[in-house]
């Protein structure tokens, strides 16, 4: 089995930056990511796509190029196309098309990033409905732009994806924005923050300008969103300004923010707490990224939603702090080198309340109507979950056994937060009292054949 000083899960900005810092400090680093190429979500496939259609994706996207170049270092082994399906006591189990294997590490850094907040609305299980981020992934990764789409929801990423599709020659039908007028007013009250966030606001206004000039309609303060169609989505229906409206389309792209992807940190045994701000569970860690589980660290959007720049900085900070804990770097040097990064990261994080106020999640998707599917895997509706609570189910795992919600292949990634909110609302319990869905390995699919191969390799290896 290969041994490393540090194994990093996730090659997004956080993981790449951490790998570079740790390698520079002298650590032997494994950087593992299930994607075939480094970059994470924001810089997905940037090494390839920068040349061909980087212009459509924008300047921010191209900032990923030096980060990707930075992991080309003799002390960094990049396991691309490898998913991590178990983490235990300094051992990581990996799976790839070539089979399963195990690596050992003195420290593990989980930099698994965010996922789009699931958006349960009527019709969201129909083919043709995807995340807006999912459409962006197809654009970055395959150069495919979704045509004739209605973008539904709220958040800066909704506008960004609309602009990227427009530039790719696939102008969206319209944006159906769920933020209410009071959300903008609340954001305006934070004018001090707005001054500090100048760079982001300018970019956001430029995006909106580009959409306006191209004649892409934006419907504001929308509610009662429903996605309609017989076998696939063909209509987005909503009310706005007291009027019911329908737009025909070939695709509906949903987005209302991102939440930490905590499957790996859960499986590693890291304690999590519910964040009202993020409306999801987040792993508990200190400001270096150290968790309560010895030698397990977290960084980036998987630890706390802070955006790409904050993710990169938190990766650098964790990388150097781990080097310090393993004895590669003295405290004064760690503190001297990280102080500027910490300051800038904290500045980035201080801007988040503005985004949270200006682009709150779509309220009706946080408390879905009874007939809306919440567990996509097992086809369980919000109503069935409510009924289970009324019938006496107390915690979230109780709901799981009585309804099967959260029992499917996705292990609750798509429904855990919705279940938690419903249980709390129906039962008057506090969110920290109802438990969380357990994450048990394998957290990523692995076949029995691959497992058998891994066992053979372990038995045959000498240097274990």
């Amino acid at each position: 089995m290969h041994r490393f000083d540090l194994a990093i899960v996730g090659a997004g900005p956080a993981g790449m930056a951490a790998a570079r810092e740790a390698a520079e400090a002298g650590l032997k680093v494994a950087l593992v990511d299930e994607q075939p190429r480094a970059g994470g979500q924001i810089y997905r496939n940037v090494g390839q796509a920068a040349q061909t259609y980087g212009a459509q994706l924008g300047k921010e996207y191209l900032r990923g190029v030096p980060l990707v170049e930075g992991i080309d270092h003799e002390a960094i082994t990049h396991f691309s196309g490898h998913s991590v399906w178990a983490i235990e006591k300094g051992q990581l189990a990996l799976n790839s098309p070539d089979g399963a294997r195990q690596i050992g590490a003195r420290c593990v850094l989980l930099a698994t990033g965010a996922i789009e907040r699931p958006m349960p609305v009527p019709g969201w299980t129909l083919p043709g409905v995807m995340g807006a981020g999912a459409a962006q992934i197809m654009l970055k990764q395959s150069g495919l732009a979704v045509e004739n789409a209605v973008l539904v929801g709220s958040g800066p990423l909704l506008h960004l994806v609309a602009v990227q599709l427009l530039r790719a020659g696939a102008p969206p039908v319209a944006l159906v924005e769920t933020r209410q007028r009071r959300d903008s007013r609340r954001a305006l009250l934070m004018w001090r923050l707005m001054l500090r966030a100048g760079r982001y606001i300018q970019r956001s206004l430029a995006d909106l300008n580009e959409l306006r000039n191209a004649g892409v309609p934006r419907h504001m303060a929308c509610a009662d969103v429903a996605l309609l169609g017989e076998r696939r989505v063909d209509t987005v229906s909503f009310s706005s300004g007291g009027r019911r409206q329908e737009l025909s389309c070939d695709a509906a792209l949903l987005h209302h923010g991102v939440v930490p992807h905590v499957q790996a940190s859960r499986a590693a045994g890291v304690p999590h707490i519910w964040s009202d701000k993020i409306q999801a569970h987040v792993p508990v860690c200190d400001s270096w990224g150290r968790t309560e589980v010895p030698r397990v660290w977290v960084a980036g959007d998987g630890a706390w939603i802070g955006g790409a720049r904050a993710a990169e900085l938190s990766g650098r900070i964790a990388g150097l702090a781990i080097a310090h804990d393993l004895g590669f770097v003295h405290s004064p040097e760690r503190d001297r080198r990280t102080s500027g990064w910490i300051e800038e990261r904290d500045f980035e994080l201080s801007l988040r309340p503005l985004i949270e106020k200006a682009f709150p999640p779509y309220a009706a998707a946080l408390a879905p109507a009874d007939n809306v599917t919440v567990c996509r895997c097992e086809e369980i509706s919000a109503g069935e979950v409510r009924q289970a609570v009324r019938d006496g189910a107390t915690g979230i795992n109780h709901v799981k056994v009585s309804t099967r919600a959260g029992m499917g292949r996705c292990q609750g990634r798509m429904c855990a937060a919705a279940l938690a909110r419903i249980v709390v609302r129906e039962s008057d319990a506090k969110i920290d009292e109802i438990g969380t869905l357990n994450a048990r390995p394998p957290i990523k699919p692995v076949t029995l054949g691959a497992l058998a191969g891994m066992r053979r390799e372990a038995e045959g290896s000498e240097d274990d």
Binding site: G128, M130, Q141, R376, E379, G408, R409
Partner: protein
């Protein structure tokens, strides 16, 4: 009935290879993401759900939702996490709890 997702390709000249989808031949760009390539080929029935038996299509494109599940050469896999190879034998993942596919 409308066709599936409409996708505009910014890289139209990728070399194509033949795969089988539900027993029919399809030409897909070699090495491309399998879920995206199938969507571009007009496919939108990937996973069949266990109770209602309806078709699902990729939702997240990042390995979270499992709605892109296919049988790839007999093994159920998330097609958004797989690359196109020549000669792949692909079938929608049937998850009906009853009938011949109940074991999946």
């Amino acid at each position: 009935m409308k066709p599936g997702l409409r996708l505009k390709s910014l890289t139209p000249d990728a070399p194509l290879v033949e795969v089988q989808f539900g027993g029919e031949a399809l030409m897909l760009p070699e090495g491309d993401n399998l879920a995206a390539a199938l969507l571009a080929a007009g496919i939108d029935g990937f996973r069949q759900t266990p109770y209602q038996g309806v078709a699902r299509a990729p939702y997240c494109m990042m390995g979270i939702c499992f709605d892109c599940l296919l049988e790839v050469d007999g093994v159920s896999q998330q097609s958004c996490m797989v690359q196109v190879r020549a000669g792949m034998d692909l079938r929608p993942a049937r998850q009906r709890r009853e009938g011949p596919y109940a074991s999946l």
